[in-house]
Homo-oligomer: 149 residues x 2
DNA sequence: TATTGTTATACTCTATAACTATA
DNA sequence: TATAGTTATAGAGTATAACAATA
């Protein structure tokens, strides 16, 4: 998958970011097909699995999504038996979303699949280059000037 | 615009790419509002303006879009008087898309606006860091192992 | 036969407003 | 009155199939 860039686009950082992101999502989605997940679902699952219960509002903020989109996303994961909505003790407005045991198992398998997918995207990037890229993307994603200590 | 990343997402390169790209597009779109353009339209305009006429198929391939999407995109630019569809001499199946004088003027203004927008995205990246990032994104966007000489 | 441009269609993603139940 | 979840809806973006004109 190598394609030339027209000179008029080669300097366009925004365009490069867009198609790189699209490529990354497409590769991740393809890799996750056997597990019945897509990139967004994997991200949400890994987020929830690392917590001891998250409100959908917190999920929305972490994933940079509108709360209304989170409903369908969690519906899908819940339909696959990967997460559960539980009543929140103390505030009955909240739903505490937690990963099921099956959700933890699938997340672990998916993490390996995604690791390989990223490896394929970063083919022939050295370890140092990967670290540099990761640091830069972290700064860009958070809008933070410097990586916090 | 600084927001923390949950630890579960901080290592997710694909997620970082996605939200960085979304941020970049949002910033570019906002900056282009006064010119009546969006990021995609600017990219297409700059591509066409750098050529002496492109078929819509060539535009689709350069922009990584489906040819059917290019129709609406060029319709929009043509409606604003920024590009023209001309018959292609020699092959009557082709439409040669070229930038109008007004298209060239708008493209020039837009390029400045986009330059500032990218500058805002890359706030406090050094010149060297910008060069490194650009080189990495070029490799990732084209799927090419090394930057061609 | 194959290709360009085009239309139609559908599916995903995203964004907004409004409703309900709780607080 | 304010907030969490939800629903409905509409707008982008993307992908596929099919058709007319032309090669």
């Amino acid at each position: 998958m190598t394609r030339d860039l027209p000179p008029a686009l080669a300097e366009n950082v925004g365009f490069l970011l867009s198609i790189t992101s699209a490529r990354s999502v497409a590769m991740a989605n393809a890799a996750l097909v056997p597990l019945g997940l897509k990139a967004r679902g994997y991200t949400a699952l890994s987020l929830v699995a690392a917590s001891d219960g998250m409100s959908q509002r917190d999920i929305a903020e972490a994933l940079r999504m509108d709360p209304s989109q989170v409903v369908a996303l969690i519906d899908t994961l819940e339909g696959k038996g990967l997460v559960e909505r539980r009543p929140h003790p103390g505030d009955r407005r909240l739903r505490s979303v937690v990963a099921t045991p099956e959700g933890h198992r699938v997340r672990k398998k998916a993490a390996k699949v995604i690791k390989d997918s990223v490896s394929a995207l970063l083919t022939d990037f050295t370890e140092e280059e990967r670290t540099v890229l990761h640091g830069m993307l972290t700064r860009l994603a958070t809008g933070r000037t410097t990586t916090p200590a």
